[in-house]
């Protein structure tokens, strides 16, 4: 069980704001973190990894991580820009983390990189680098795997391949995972839960299964816009931000019910 209750002042996309997050994650859960750019998603990952400081508490299986160094957190981190060790081969990148050749072989097989193990990482394509980065993050059998936009630089074919590999790795190792992504299709395919972050605050925490199965969906009004004689509300539902027409008396933060037919036609 991971308990997060942190506060941190931030310079966000709309100026000064405060990252204020209070959440619990069950062991083995796959959580997707989405929201607008500058909402504090990457900062939240970095705070969890111990790369940035914050106020508040992070507790993992009863152990306080407040003052624990990044070296001791047993975190796997997949950076958006891969951050591979350019002076090493694919295999060396993995063995640098943990000299477990059997595990390295298993990970390289899952991600179809076995034949590239002696290649210098500088010679790989973006998709291959992202997969090496994922394997490297799994090498210390992490308690938590953090992924920052793992699909952002990949084409659709590579994205589908990596998605399959992430799913396989999660099934094999059962690692608690938090993935920052804007890709709703990937979130729906991989995650158990979705958190939506806006201006440093979690405005929605929903099970993906509920979102996908429910025919009528309740959603909180995130934004309201008045256009001529219409009132449009922005909501987050089924892994997507939607703008729907609502009654004129609907207020910000109201919960509205959305029928599936209306959702598809909006």
């Amino acid at each position: 069980m991971i308990h997060i209750d942190i506060q941190k002042p931030l310079h966000g996309s709309n100026g000064q704001m405060s990252l204020d997050v209070k959440l619990d994650i069950q062991e083995g859960e796959f959580v997707a973190l989405t929201g607008e750019s500058g909402a504090g998603k990457t900062t939240l990952l970095r705070v969890l990894a111990g790369l940035e400081s914050s106020q508040g508490h992070i507790t993992v299986n009863g152990q306080s991580w407040n003052t624990l160094a990044p070296q001791k957190r047993n975190i796997g981190f997949v950076f958006q820009d891969y951050a591979l060790f350019d002076n090493m081969t694919v295999e060396e990148n993995l063995l640098f983390v943990n000299n477990d050749k059997k595990l390295a072989k298993e990970l390289l097989e899952i991600t179809a990189l076995e034949s590239f193990k002696k290649r210098n990482v500088k010679t790989l394509s973006g998709g291959q680098k992202q997969r090496v980065s994922l394997c490297r993050a799994m090498m210390n059998r992490p308690k938590i795997l953090l992924m920052d936009e793992p699909f952002s630089a990949l084409d659709s074919l590579m994205k589908a391949t990596l998605q399959k590999e992430i799913k396989k790795l999660h099934k094999t190792f059962g690692t608690t995972t938090i993935m920052v992504s804007h890709d709703m299709q990937a979130i729906a395919a991989l995650a158990d839960r979705v958190w939506v972050l806006e201006q440093g605050k979690v405005i929605s925490d929903t099970l993906v299964q509920d979102l996908m199965q429910s025919k009528s969906q309740k959603a909180e009004v995130i934004k309201l816009k008045v256009l001529a004689d219409k009132v449009l509300a922005t909501i987050f539902v089924a892994g997507e931000f939607l703008e729907v027409e609502v009654a004129k008396d609907v207020q910000l933060s109201d919960t509205i019910t959305l029928e599936l037919s209306a959702k598809l036609s909006s």
């Binding site: 990894a49 957190r73 981190f77 950076f79 951050a83 060790f85 002076n87 500088k122 490297r136 210390n140």
Partner: protein, 227 residues
């Protein structure tokens, strides 16, 4: 042509440069790393202090070092009495003075190399459980090879070419403090232009070859990086 030439000053210059380069590398590496990672307010002050020998006349630096190293001052007296080390007109004094004089040539390339590294690469190493020292040795240094080679070779070459500071602190004691640049100066003073020509031509050729090798190496590294 070469039979009457004494090559001891050359050997002494190389010995001084080699010892200075090794000592400076050991001392400057953690300092350059700290400078590259810190956001402290004192950073510009430390950077300016490190760069001082680049703009200061060597005679000024030499004069102050001579004053500080003198056994008549608190520092020089303490070193001589406690450790039995004489810092003026000695090879040891030349090494210490050279470390000050060549400091920016070691620190600046290393610092700019460290600063150019992808910060996430270092963080990935920390998250892999590696200490700062392991990260510097296994990740940072191998990824700043051109800066590392530049720092080592330029420090060595610059120390070989020192004149003002070594003359002030070391004087000209044969096989103790009389380095090649001082020997050339003395030859010109006694109008031995032929010998001065040979010494100078050797220094010129060596300096050019050293610089050429640095540029060729860095050019090759850039090419490897692009492929």
């Amino acid at each position: 042509m070469f039979e009457n030439l004494d090559f001891a000053p050359f050997l002494l210059s190389f010995k001084l440069a080699a010892v200075t380069t090794v000592i400076l590398f050991i001392l400057a590496l953690p300092f350059a790393w700290c400078l590259s990672q810190t956001k402290a307010k004192a950073k510009p002050f430390l950077e300016a202090l490190t760069a001082l020998p680049l703009v200061l006349p060597p005679s000024v630096l030499g004069f102050y070092l001579l004053v500080v190293f003198s056994p008549n001052t608190a520092f020089g007296g303490f070193i001589e009495e406690t450790f039995g080390i004489k810092l003026v007109f000695s090879f040891t004094g030349l090494v210490v003075a050279s470390c000050f004089y060549s400091l920016p040539f070691m620190v600046q390339p290393l610092q700019s190399g460290f600063e150019s590294l992808n910060k996430h690469m270092l963080e990935a190493s920390y998250l892999a459980g590696k200490s700062k020292m392991q990260t510097v040795i296994k990740v940072a240094l191998p990824n700043i090879k051109p800066s590392l080679i530049t720092a080592l070779i330029i420090t060595f070459a610059h120390t070989v070419g020192e004149f003002g500071v070594v003359l002030m602190v070391g004087g000209s004691i044969p096989e103790e403090t009389k380095v090649a640049s001082v020997a050339i100066y003395e030859m010109v003073e006694v109008l031995e232009y032929g010998k001065a020509h040979i010494y100078s031509a050797l220094m010129l050729a060596m300096s050019f070859l050293v610089l050429l090798s640095v540029y060729i190496f860095n050019h090759k590294q850039k090419k490897i990086g692009i492929v």
